[in-house]
Structures are given as structure tokens and as C-alpha cells.
Amino acid sequence: MIKIFQLSVKLFKPGKQCILVIPFGDALGTRGDGHGNSIKIRAADALVRAMKNLGVRHVFGIPGGSIMPVYDALYDAEDIKHYLFKHEQGAIHAADAYGRITKKPGVVLVTSGPGATNLVTGLANAYMDSSPLVAISGQVATPILGRDGFQETDIIGVTFPITKLNMQVRSPDDVVSAFTTGYIVSTEGRPGPVLIDIPRDVLLGSTGSIEPVPKIHPKAFGGEPSREEILKALRLLLNAERPVILVGGGVCWSGAWDDVITLAEILWAPIVSTFPGKNCVPNDHPLYLGPSGMHGRLEADAALANADVVLAVGTRFSDRTVGRFKEMNMKAIIHIDIDPSEIGKNVRTEVGIVSDAKKALKAMLRELPSAIQEEYNRQHSGRRSFIAWLKEIRRKYEEHIEARAGDMKPFAPWKVLKVLRRTVPPSTIVTTGVGSHQMWCELHWDVYIPGTFITSAGLGTMGFGLPAALGAKIAASNRPVMLIDGDGSFQMTMNNLSLVRDYGLPIIAVIFDNRALMLVKQWQIYMYSRRVIATEFTKNPDFVKIAEAYGIEGYRPSSYEEIESIVRRALRTDEPVIIDIELDNEKDIVLPWVKPGEWLTNAVPPEGLEVDLIWKG
């Protein structure tokens, strides 16, 4: 008989307690033998059973001595599929992307010592991009702990600042509750990575404690926003001359894009985004101008720079998005974020609302009486001319680059993206590496469906793209997944290509091959007087042969049409493909560009384009 257990987690909130209910499909309570004695099982088995009952279906990792009990327990777990990566960094980036797509934590298994330390970059990446995952590291047996045993690393000490929570389990009785805690904490409120370190003898020990009771109860910030704050925010927005909505990654997690758009349409407010926020609003909406900041769109820079009131939703106001804080602080800022420590962290806020984005935006929409809408619509025709001016900046920029596309031979990177965009279906998930190719994506990849663009934004981790594509394909096997990578980034984790054939993961990998660490070279050109050092590869491996080595079709196209037909064929046949796009590393310069520490209106436009980003009314 299958019993349904429910786990109630009390969430701390001053004056109020909400209950989070997680249903379990299988009996997890302490088992009895029918004679009043509880039956004990191996902690590793209890852990795997808890995973299964929490809904874990895929795990990513590499085995080794200390984690072997968990692998042994997985031997019998038919409902959980394990993906063997070629490097733990690959496994954790895959879990990161998996979590972003499924909104459930990806689960990673590694051994102690080097297995655990290989997770460090992936944990930091997930932490910076607020991505949920649970990493379980094996640890040396407790008698050896602290004695510098073989493959002993204090991974808890190492990962304190890059995890939302980490803990070492010292008793078999705590294994299930620790995992349950991690699983809940990683997605609760602002998501993030959790690491659980478990010594080998603890995993092998017996336990009767198989009830999924969390060790600690996650705090819940941001319930219903106060009406007073909402009204204050609305008054500011309604009376603004040029209100602008800045969308951050939090909008995605909260699923609030429809509300953002409704509000923008009512207010006639242009929408700009952070880089991760690009993933949180349909990019083809007429009011969306693109990401602002270092590698943002000119029209988005102009919108944010000239706004008098900014409604920022689910963003941490990175310097990369706003350029400089001094000018930002001269605007009236309304900031909605689930994390109270983000409010007022980088910019001064007029109204700070600690809340889930969707809840706050819904409250705003509720309070916006239609009478006010009409009144202000009449009053604020000025907003329309502001938007028309911003669109004019866009038109000029697009025309300018189109006219010069032929100068970039054999391919203009942005044009390759346009070809790919019209070739793959809107539901295609795109992942990227880090570098100029990623910045081209920021500028020119249109995200039609929120949640389909996965990039390492906060940490900027080269090598993220390929494993992230694999994780995305595992999470969404019925949708096309395309990697847009740099040749440098690709070479950092390309060993994980073997998973494509091991597990039938037909991804489309497009390599922007400029034989350079181009983004760094661009900085050398512009900021270090062209003193180019250590950014050009003398020779790259033949990526077509690399593809062949892994049993994948590889191509080096020579025209845009050829790119399109290769991708169409891959989509039709559902076969993986690697496409090596050769680029000229003298011409592959990503502009516009706001240099570090500069204000948005000082964006460097593409050569020959003259635009004034200061609104004159």
C-alpha cells in the first residue's frame, strides 16, 4: 500500500507562520517490523529513498571512495538516472542549468577531496546566479576527519561563502533530514546552492530516522507587500515623466513576466533588463528595449539613463547593468526584491519592497484604478515621444550594423545569431559560454519565451555553456537545446561532449571560433593601448575532428545559408551537431560598450555611428 505523507515546514515570519506542504508519494516514516520494533536501514539507502520521494529523477556526478555507499544505493534505484560526467565541474554546471529549467534543485554527487574541490566554481556560479542545486560530497570516515587523511578536504570550510547553506552530517540519523533541509532551502525564497558533506562511515551506518524532517526551517521573507508601499510606488510611477522598468533575473524565478508587461503597457513605460533579466521577458515585445549596461543596447542605456523613476524588479543592481551608481542615485528608485539584503545595497531607494516579484506586481495592478489610468494616459503623451526617441536609436543602430555586416568576413557574429534565431523554434533553450560571443547574444539573441536563455551572468564562468546545455537537454528532452560558445570557453569543458552519445543528448553546439580570448583582447585594445598579450591562440584544435572523435557530425560552414541548412537538418533528424563558425579576431569587437566605471550615456557606439543618448525632450 502506498501511503501519502506530507511534510509541513514552518516558515519563520514575524507575527505570521506559513506552511509549506511537500507531498510524498511513498511511505517514509520509520518502518516497523510488525512487532513494534523499528527496522534500521543503511543511511545511504535512506538517502536515495528520500531523493526518490522528493521527486529527484536525475543525478549528476562522478563516483569515488567516500561517496561509493550512495552509488551502491543507486544501484537499486530504478527511478533515478545517473549521468556520469567527465569532470565534476561539468556535473555541477549541468545541475545548475537543470535547476533553472525545472525549478527543482539539480542533484550532484561527488567524492571527497578533489571531487569536492572540483565543485567550487560551479557552486560559486550557482550562488551568483541564484540557481538551486544540492551537491552531496562524500567525506573521509569520521575517525580520520581532521587528520589529513587521503582525499580529505575541509569542503565545508572552503564553501561557506559560496553556498546558501552547507553542512557536514555526523550521524546516520541526520542524513535524510540534512538532505531534506538542503532540498527545501535551495529553492525557498531566493534560490541558491546547498552542499552536504557526508563521511563514508556515516553513509554506511544504520538508521531508523528516515522521516524527511528538515533540520532547520527556512526563513520566508517578503509576504504580501504593504498597501502603503504599493500606493507610494504607484504614485511615483504615475507622476513620472519617463518611468522605466528594469527587469532582473528574479522575475523569471517568480514567473512574473506577464505582470511586468501589463504594468508597462498601462504605464507606457519602456522595459529594460539586466543580462539575466533578458531571460525573463519576451524580447519581441514592443516595449522591451533590451539589456542595459556594459554590453547592453544603446536604446536600453538611453532609457535607463534618462529615466526619472525606475521600477526595478528582482535585480541586485549590478555595476555591470547600471554603469555608475552616482547618477543612478539621482533617480527615484522603486526596488522590489525577495532578498531584503538587496534593497539599498547598491543604490538608494525611494521605495523598497521586500516581496516576491509576482506578488508585488499583482498588488500594484490591483491598486491601479482605471480612472487613474485614463487620466494619466491623457497627461503623459510625453512618454510616447520618449519611447519613439528610444526606438529611433534602435533603428539607427540596426541600420548602421546591417550596412557594415559585409565588413566582418566571413561572418558577422550578430548576423549568425539572427540566422540561428529564425531557424530554431521559439521554445529552443540556448546556453552560452563567456566572452564576446556571449555579449553578442546579450545584444542580439531574442528570447521569445522566458526561461529559455541560460548563461553564466554573475560569475562569468568560461566553460559553463556545454555542460549547461547537457543539463538543459536532460531537463527538457523534448525541446531543442543550442549552445552558443566561444572557442576558449568550449575548450574548458569540452571533455563532457562524450555524454552526447553516452546518453543520447542531441544538442546543437555552435562555436564562435575567433582563435582568441576575444573579450579580453578587446579590453587590451581599448583599455591597454592595444598591448595584446596571452589572448590569441596560435592554433586551435580542429573542432570538426573533435566532433567526429565523439561520434558527432561536425561542420565548418562558409555561408549564412549553409549555417541555416545544417541547423535545420539537425533539428529535423534530432541529431547532435557541432558547427565551427570562423570569425576574424581583428573585427570581432562587441560594440556598443560601456567601459567599467562609466555612465550609460558614454556608451561607445560602433565605429561611424553617431547617436546622442541624452534626452532633450
Binding site: F12, I156, G157, P161, N166, F221, P340, S341, G344, K345
Partner: protein, 75 residues
């Protein structure tokens, strides 16, 4: 200005380490840290800092959002 930040947390030494990691990143001068641990993981941490109000407020919020921290008071 000088302030005392009182923190309550529930994961013993690990909580202390997390709090210290957070303070390390703040732009304040730390004058004193002391803590008392209970047998069940409960821990009370007292930190005396000197710095700007906004930085101390940043610290308060950053500590507050730590999962295992149950209370933060600035005196």
C-alpha cells in the same frame, strides 16, 4: 559610529563561520567578537563594529538572510 550586532543562530560553529565570512566582506572595523554556544547548536554571537550607518545596515541585512540565523539586533 560604534554599534553592537547581536546574532542568534542554530548551527553552532558553522553559523559562527558563516557570520564571520559575512562580516569580513563588510567595510567596517571589527572591534570585538564573542560567542556563547549551547549544546543543541544554538549560538549567540556579539560583534562590536565601527563604521558608517549604511555599512552596518548592509551587514545586518546580509547576516539576517543567512539561513541558519534566527535573529539579528543592532544596538
Amino acid at each position: 559610529m560604534e554599534r553592537v550586532i547581536k546574532v542568534g543562530a542554530c548551527m553552532g560553529m558553522d553559523s559562527l563561520a558563516r557570520v564571520i565570512n559575512t562580516i569580513r566582506r563588510g567595510k567596517v572595523q571589527v572591534l570585538e567578537i564573542s560567542s556563547k554556544l549551547g549544546s543543541n547548536g544554538d549560538i549567540n554571537i556579539v560583534i562590536r563594529v565601527r563604521g558608517e550607518e549604511s555599512e552596518i545596515e548592509w551587514l545586518r541585512k546580509k547576516i539576517l538572510v543567512l539561513v541558519d540565523v534566527t535573529s539579528v539586533e543592532v544596538l
